[in-house]
Symmetry: C2
């Protein structure tokens, strides 16, 4: 049987998982594929390190260039992470006509245009199923299965760490710091969890999804990103009273004129919506296409095994592409959509919690401000107060970011308002 | 731009949907694909008939042979339904080297082996995403995305008609006949609903999924199939008391020795399992792979638009295959799994409702029979009786079909048992 040579750059959690499962399921894969996948070179920082997953010592090198340059290597798998070296590696691989498989979402979100332009020019495909939502085959679904659809929207829980934290805050009533510490203790959050909790990991994935759906690379500066650091157990409790759960969602949408919006933020969603019951480290994405209607994809979004499953699927497809001399994979640019909406013009609904004096007439003042700015109130709750200070919780109808920012400035300036209001966004999934 | 010629055999709900959406999203598709898809021939029973979806009169013919034989037609889409003519058409198309796209689940379940053997011999791909679960890209997911996985199990709600009926029985307390009548009035059930309600439509789809997962075509005679006709509102009520919902599931599994089971039957599942909340005409499939873990796919399983979305995805892939001279698509046979378990050896758990005399000691007799046969009881409820007759509801631990059949025969023969017990199967989804 014909063997396809594979080079791994990176042998951390995912790289080792790929090696392990390629070995364990070798017979299955080669029978299904009609080809063998042989790892013939592995680049790591320290070739001498003892590892849980064993590989022959002679495969290891400390230089990623050795992987790309090895004449046996036909497919280069970039699992090093980071930006600069990973970018160099991919550029060099494409230059050498070697197919690239990567799971590097930050790299694609920041340099996707450059890399895919180069790949198109050189007719070398790049595969990246592992870059979004781990084992869930969402890249393939959007790119291939929904090729006949205008994608109206994608709503995704695409970061397992934050979903774990929010789930524990919701189910066990933990505050943010305690839930984060628990996630770290369980291995679901890294020692430095910044990129997860500030929303940027999800934002990178949302940019990649938008590129597939709308055929254009969105600049990170045009993405609205808010993390979960300021979500409190108190807000989660009020959300419950309002029939909602709070999830960190990546949202991509295009309106009827083709204007795109990409945003990531903690979001109140109706508790009956299927995304509300996606808990723990699981990921899920609702994709709404104009032909297929509503669909949902659910599974493990991270971890050694699920991510290895995605990389191996890419390897199989890359091997087929090599074998058939097929070169038409990869990014599909098209010019049917416009640019991103300015952030200030993004329209959505809101949850607003306002600390106020416990006196009559405060609601009238707040409602007056909102009325002046043409922002409707859809519901209001006012929890029992301690007799001195109180809180107003309002659910607001559609308003632009600009409108609501002005509203908050004016509300904060009201004498009866005791501090900065808390603003969260709401999605009702109305078609 | 290069145009690929497409012939449609059949212009019913799905065929007309394909034509309509190819026209509506033409620009999007050709930009993404780099190719044009042009329908150049359409076979229908009556070319003169007035249709909701309009197509140029000169495209129509009453002979499907005209579609296959048209030299402009490079991809033949079989959407006629039925077995014999559809089979002839596909054989003729493959013989002519034309790629086939079909949504005909009954044909594939009954003649899959023959057709794919022929397709492999002639190096002509057959695409069939529309054959299972409409717009949900489950064929592609199992075949391509999970290529590195041993598929441990697939549990699917893969018939929308029966899911609608069971949902209405559960939510509105309707009996089976009333729910079926409502489904017919809504257009969700056909005038002759036999193939849906007796489980065979789902069984055809389960056979196709098993062929992808286990690389072998299961004979329909080796599939255990039970419909929903005997499910009563009463059993649905007791299932609720036991924390369960009743769904018609298609189940495919392989055990550690590679023995396969494929079955379709009404199934009690825990109300907290995600499949329990898949309601109405929606379909959903849980796929468990040894590498990726648990995944779920959800969407519309039938209807003009979702099914057209699947056919168009196949057309795009077929067009790429043509354009790149790629011929390695299609069925992936492999020899890593054994044959089906004999039906009598299938192991599962059960719900048993037994009409009994309202006298002390009956439970002891029933429990005695089960004990003799080594069948454990996991729980029991005995609803309030009317003073004369009563019912025992038992949940049973793992037992084979053969064991439980013997148990029912012995229990029915007990003097205190007043009639035939009702037996339903249970899935707990324990890993």
């Amino acid at each position: 049987m014909k063997q396809i040579g594979i080079g791994l750059a990176g042998f951390g959690t995912v790289g080792a998982g790929v090696f392990k499962h390629l070995a364990q399921n070798r017979d299955l894969l080669s029978q299904r594929l009609g080809l063998g996948l042989a790892v013939c070179r592995i680049a790591v920082r320290d070739p001498k390190k003892t590892r849980d997953v064993k590989a022959p010592a002679e495969l290891f090198t400390a230089r990623w260039q050795d992987v790309v340059d090895d004449p046996q290597v036909q497919i280069v798998v970039e699992l090093m992470g980071g930006i600069e070296e990973a970018r160099e590696l991919i550029v060099r691989a494409i230059g050498a006509g070697k197919i690239v498989v990567t799971g590097n979402k930050a790299l694609l979100a920041e340099h996707g245009k450059e890399l895919f332009d180069l790949a198109t020019a050189k007719q070398v495909p790049i595969f990246f199923e592992a870059a979004v939502a781990g084992g869930i085959p969402i890249i393939k679904a959007v790119r291939e299965s929904f090729i006949g659809n205008h994608i109206k929207s994608i709503h995704g829980i695409i970061n397992g760490t934050t979903n774990y934290i929010l789930t524990r805050m919701t189910e066990a009533g933990l505050d943010y710091a305690a839930a984060l510490a628990e996630a770290q203790a369980q291995g679901y959050a890294e020692a430095d969890p910044t990129l997860d909790v500030n929303g940027w990991d999800a934002a990178h994935k949302a940019i990649i999804l938008a590129s597939l759906a709308y055929g254009t690379w969105i600049s990170p500066s045009k993405v609205f990103v808010e993390g979960i650091e300021k979500v409190t157990a108190r807000d989660i409790g009020f959300a419950k009273m309002l029939g909602c759960r709070i999830k960190l969602l990546g949202i991509i949408k295009a309106d009827d004129r083709g204007a795109i919006e990409v945003r990531v933020h903690p979001t109140l969603i109706p508790e009956k919506h299927v995304l509300a019951s996606v808990n723990g480290v699981f990921n899920a994405l609702c994709v709404h296409g104009d032909v297929v209607g509503e669909t949902l994809f659910y599974g493990r979004g991270a971890g050694q095994d699920p991510t290895a499953s995605a990389v191996i699927a890419d390897l199989a497809e890359a091997a087929h592409a090599l074998d058939s001399k097929r070169r038409d994979f990869g990014f599909m640019p098209h010019g049917l959509y416009g640019d991103c909406k300015p952030l200030d013009e993004i329209l959505c609904q809101y949850y607003l919690r306002i600390p106020v004096d416990d006196k009559p007439g405060v609601l009238a003042q707040v409602a007056g401000v909102l009325g002046e700015l043409n922002i409707g109130i859809s519901s209001m709750i006012q929890p029992e107060s301690d007799g001195q200070s109180a809180e107003l919780i309002l659910m607001l109808h559609d308003a632009t970011h600009a409108q609501v920012r002005e509203a908050i400035a004016r509300i904060t300036a009201l004498p009866a308002v005791e501090g900065a209001p808390t603003l969260l966004r709401v999605e009702h999934f109305t078609p």
